[in-house]
């Protein structure tokens, strides 16, 4: 199951639409990390609203995506984690440390907008 990645202004939006296999996740990671500099995106949003389960591999991959994209000069925010999913993730010790999370797509966009305007934002100041 391929995850569609849309470009919206300075942001890339990846909307997960069904359960992903480990292969799908790896592919999503590679595509996002590659595309982010191709389109010169300032931010990436991964929408996981459709996921009923987020396991340790998915968590690790999402964290890797966020860290890699930061190294590539953009921000990542994970949006739409369901309340039950969030709690079971925490129970398993999967807390997505150091990764920004938001309630939904709208909030994620607002978060990236704020980040972009913030003082001393690296991508911003270098432009």
């Amino acid at each position: 199951m391929q995850v569609p990645i849309l470009k919206q202004g300075a942001y890339l939006i990846a909307t997960v639409q069904s359960a992903l296999t480990d292969e799908d996740l790896k592919q999503l990671r590679d595509t996002l990390v590659e595309r982010v500099s191709v389109v010169r995106a300032r931010g990436v949003i991964v929408d996981v609203t459709a996921l009923d389960v987020i396991d340790s591999f998915a968590t690790r991959t999402l964290r890797d995506v966020a860290h890699m994209i930061r190294l590539r000069g953009a921000e990542t925010v994970i949006v739409g984690i369901q309340p039950e999913v969030a709690f079971s993730m925490v129970k398993l010790g999967l807390t997505l440390e150091g990764v920004a999370t938001s309630l939904d797509l709208e909030e994620g966009l607002a978060y990236l907008d704020r980040k972009g305007k913030g003082p001393g934002h690296e991508v911003r100041t270098h432009r």
């Binding site: 994970i78 949006v79 984690i81 309340p83 039950e84 969030a86 709690f87 993730m89 925490v90 129970k91 807390t95 997505l96 999370t101 938001s102 309630l103 909030e107 994620g108 978060y111």
Partner: protein, 299 residues
């Protein structure tokens, strides 16, 4: 070998006679119904049981209990009696009837009936003994059935009430756009902790909250599992994009949190509820401005 055969043959006619004795007993109780029922109702009033009910009500209930009692003796099955006991409990528990009263009246009935048996058979001591042998186990079983039915009904009501209290006990209140408060009062047991988590995470979603102030001023202490659960709730809320500010930690709770080695970088804590709301407003970008002189000052 011989002995055991003798025993076996000895018990069989005895079993049969138990049944016939019970039949005789039931016939006697049916015949004496009006008088015994009267006597029983009088004893109930005298013993000051069922004070929450009027005389007429007591008499009406006494009549149906009596009939059910005799029927259970006759048929040896307790389902109908059980159902009746449940139904009766359902009606009388809300009126404040206590367990000792219910057990008391059933035992009184047992005594009344036993007395009437004494009166009837006092001339034939052997027969009386055999009648009592048949009567007593059945009567005790009836008393147990009614008492257990009553207690079970009571427990069911208590469970329902606990559920209701739980639901009332974790309010999620919106104080500003995107700011929720959860004031928690009383001890948090594991079940309440689970419910708190559920309410909080659901509240974040429905109210689109960015900041939640969890005030535990009213919580005297928590144990380690619950403390862990709280920390996990805070982390789960972060995954939904909300910040949780915990306020009003008592020294004991602070100690518990330190003992379980909570990562303080993940927990946002403020001394009291006011401070928590101020911090939340700061995070949300609110600025509260006093526009008038304080109303508390004399004019």
């Amino acid at each position: 070998m011989n002995d055991s055969r003798k025993l076996a043959t000895a018990t069989e006619p005895r079993l049969e006679s138990t049944a016939s004795l019970l039949r005789e007993l039931v016939a006697h109780l049916r015949q004496q119904r009006a008088q015994l029922r009267e006597e029983w109702a009088r004893l109930i009033t005298e013993a000051k049981l069922l004070t929450a009910m009027t005389k007429e009500e007591i008499f009406a209930e006494a009549t149906s209990v009596y009939d059910n009692y005799v029927e259970a003796l006759e048929t040896g099955t307790y389902e109908a009696l059980q159902a009746y006991a449940r139904n009766l409990s359902e009606r009388i528990i809300p009126r404040g009837v206590e367990t000792h009263e219910v057990v008391g009246i059933v035992l009184l009935l047992r005594d009344v009936l036993a007395r009437s048996l004494f009166a009837k058979y006092h001339e034939d001591f052997t027969k009386l003994n055999r009648i009592l042998d048949a009567y007593e186990p059945a009567a005790n079983r009836i008393a147990i059935t009614v008492a257990v039915g009553f207690v079970q009904e009571r427990e069911r009501i208590i469970r329902e009430q606990q559920e209701a209290i739980r639901e009332l006990s974790t309010p999620v209140l919106q104080v500003r756009e995107r700011l929720l408060i959860l004031p928690i009062i009383g001890v948090i047991d594991p079940q309440r902790a689970r419910q708190l988590t559920e309410q909080l995470l659901r509240g974040i979603r429905t109210n689109r909250a960015k900041v939640v102030v969890l005030d535990i001023t009213g919580v005297p202490y928590i144990d380690s599992p619950v403390a862990n659960h709280l920390v996990q709730t805070v982390e789960a809320a972060r995954l939904l994009g909300a910040t949780v500010i915990v306020t009003g930690l008592s020294p004991e709770i602070a100690q518990t949190l330190v003992n379980i080695g909570v990562d303080l970088g993940k927990m946002n804590t403020v001394g009291d509820l006011q401070g928590g709301i101020e911090e939340a407003e700061r995070l949300l970008g609110y600025k509260v401005v006093l526009t008038r002189e304080s109303a508390a000052e004399p004019a």
